[in-house]
Amino acid sequence: MGLLTFRGGVHPPEKKELSEHSALTNAPLPEVVYVFLANHAGVPAKPLVEPGQHVLTGQKIGEAAGFISANLHSPVTGVVKGIEKIYHPVLGKPDSAIVIEREGEDTWQLLEPRKPYEEFEPQEIVERIKEAGIVGLGGAMFPTNVKLSPPKEKKIDLLIINGAECEPYLTVDYRMMLEKSQEIVRGVLALIKALGVKKAIIGIENNKPKAIEEIKKATKGTGIEVATLKTKYPQGAEKQLIYAITKRVVPSGGLPMDVGVVVQNVGTAFAVYEALEEGKPLIERAITVTGEAVREPINVIARIGTLASKLIELTGGIKEDEVDRVIFGGPMMGTAVPRVDIPIVKGTSGITVMSKEVAPSRESYPCIRCGSCVKACPMYLQPFVLNLYATNRLYDKAVENGLMDCMECGSCSYACPANIELVKNFKLAKKVYRTLKGGKR
């Protein structure tokens, strides 16, 4: 049988070898953390703490402020300093964060009760996930409990767990699958119970044979299936992953639940396990700190709100004469940041420090209509056409031609021989279009 895959996409250099052999370790506790109120997609959380207040590790410090929102918990034991504006790595501008200085022993306040997932009722599982502030750890940071509560008319029959990790450089999901396979599988079983589905499939790219082996071992006897996917970018994009595994096509503008599927990341499954059986709210996550311009790439478990600079120090530091840019996330969809003293958020799966050597050239040409972008687009859009509309401010025409179907995966820009900033133009066009229409965001 051929490997499961989708049409389109690109195959950038994988670069996993830089960090894939580094086992997960706990990063030292940070002296100070910055917990953004916007640590998830949707409405920022409402702060629950006052300056000067003492908080324990895991104590709730922010409350979900709407349906699509999430709780926040203190990543450390210490004293709240106040709420400050600091550069947000996803929003790309200063945003409010609760600042907490560490003080004394790391004392946890755990969620109760703690028991095997089997003893939770489905609704209790969803409630615990909500209480623990769990969001999609693949990067989108969408509140997990919302995904687990589809409207009644949407019948869900399949849970897909995303272990593709198609983004170059990043190896957190890989290390999690190697080292935490039992816990991930228990998390998946809990998600199965919460959704009331009979079937779950874990999809993993074939460049991670060891992870496939470990997960297969851990799923033995559980009924959970493991699907081997072709190594191609963006194999881990929700719609492409669903198509590769089930051949179901999520309609344009629709969601996975429209075809009866819920997708969760392996890291999220692990967080679900920890919330249920160990009572841990989401205050730490695994993260890859990698790139040609750090001395020794690593995978670490770090508290949310830790400054990237502190994590980069753990690699032995940046090679200052070689560094070109620092990216929150991987090179395809990550955001380049202007400084390194920026805190990580729940969705930060990696910090990639790229050297000048691998960074892209800036020489650009006019579009020669070669068709590379059309071949690369996994949504079967025509990026060269969208770009003409977007750059000529014909936003309605761009939307008519599928602008909103673009998921900003970057495949077109990657492939373009003219080096046109297609995705950048699309992101801007979407923003302007939404503003003009007076819509949300």
């Binding site: 070109d324 840019r325 020669i368 070669c370 492939a415």
Partner: protein, 313 residues
């Protein structure tokens, strides 16, 4: 420490337009070498003059007229110059070739905004301009090696008099014709290189050659004086046109279906001109006519998006 802040993706394939153009030039090397071997040093002179003047004219337009002080040649002008040279008869003088290049680069390409913006294949516009301005030189053909003036296979078919050379001569290229069109074999070798490099919209040559084969086979079956499909495929400028001119990225449709329509249209018009037109050959005109339809074809053949439900489907 200074950090670059740029838009994602932060990895690029490393491919660039200059590399695309260099690949096209490489693919034309076999046919160009053959031109020099078959027709002598004057062929080399025409090729070099066309390419150099094309780059110089483009450089002048970009740097002086359009004030792009940082413009560096991307070799697209060289491709146009070379293709034009390969479309010329040996009878054309060097200054006539330069006029053709001036029309190709200055008018057909830059009036529309330069690289990527033109509707019509610049080299073909240059060729047709020369054909109309200097009809004698553009239609005087020489036999390879001994360089006696003679008629091309297409002209023999058109006039219905004279003896056609054997098919193998058409295949290897020892027939009269324009500098680069004569050897089907060497054109195909270059074309295979472009296919391997992924630089070709493959459905265009397939449908172009396919429709010519089909139409000429039907006519040949009815009346053999129309010439066999092999002559129509290998004689004249069809190979050069179908493999290298119709497939010009800028002036051809994007979707596979659009490419099929475009290629079939080229084949149809070529054969109409060959059978019923005033010229023995119709490749240039057919491609230019179909170039004009590319925006419409592109609009009509937009591929279906992932998950798209069309209301009128």
């Amino acid at each position: 420490m200074k950090l670059t802040v740029a838009a994602a993706p932060h990895l690029r394939s490393g491919d660039d337009v200059r590399k695309v153009m260099i690949d096209v030039l490489i693919a034309l090397i076999p046919a160009s070498v053959a031109a020099v071997v078959l027709f002598g040093m004057k062929a080399l002179l025409l090729i070099i003059i066309s390419m150099v003047s094309a780059e110089l004219i483009e450089l002048f337009i970009m740097r002086v007229l359009r004030q792009r002080k940082d413009f560096k040649p991307d070799f697209s002008a060289s491709v146009t110059g070379l293709l034009l040279a390969l479309n010329l008869s040996l009878a054309v003088s060097w200054w006539q070739a330069v006029i053709g290049v001036l029309v190709a680069i200055g008018i057909a390409k830059h009036i529309f905004g330069g690289l990527g913006k033109n509707f019509w294949n610049p080299a073909l516009i240059g060729r047709v301009f020369l054909l109309m301005s200097f009809p004698v030189q553009m239609t005087t053909w020489f036999k390879p090696f001994d360089l006696e003036t003679t008629a091309t296979p297409m002209a023999i078919l058109k006039e219905g008099s004279g003896t056609l050379p054997p098919v193998k001569d058409l295949f290897f290229g020892t027939i009269p014709g324009s500098l680069g069109e004569v050897s089907a074999l060497l054109l195909i070798i270059g074309f295979v290189y472009l296919v391997l490099r992924g630089r070709i919209k493959l459905f265009i040559p397939l449908s172009y050659l396919g429709s010519v084969a089909l139409i000429s086979w039907i006519f040949y079956s009815v009346n053999s004086s129309y010439g066999s499909p092999l002559y129509h495929l290998l004689g004249g400028g069809l190979m050069l046109g179908a493999l290298f001119m119709a497939t010009d990225m800028v002036t051809s449709p994007m979707s596979p279906l659009g490419q099929l329509i475009f290629g079939t249209g080229c084949g149809f018009i070529t054969m109409i001109i060959r059978y019923f037109g005033g010229y023995p050959e119709g490749v240039s005109f057919s491609i230019l006519i179909m170039n004009s339809f590319v925006p419409l074809i592109d609009m009509a053949t937009r591929p279906k998006r992932f998950g798209e439900v069309r209301s009128n489907a």
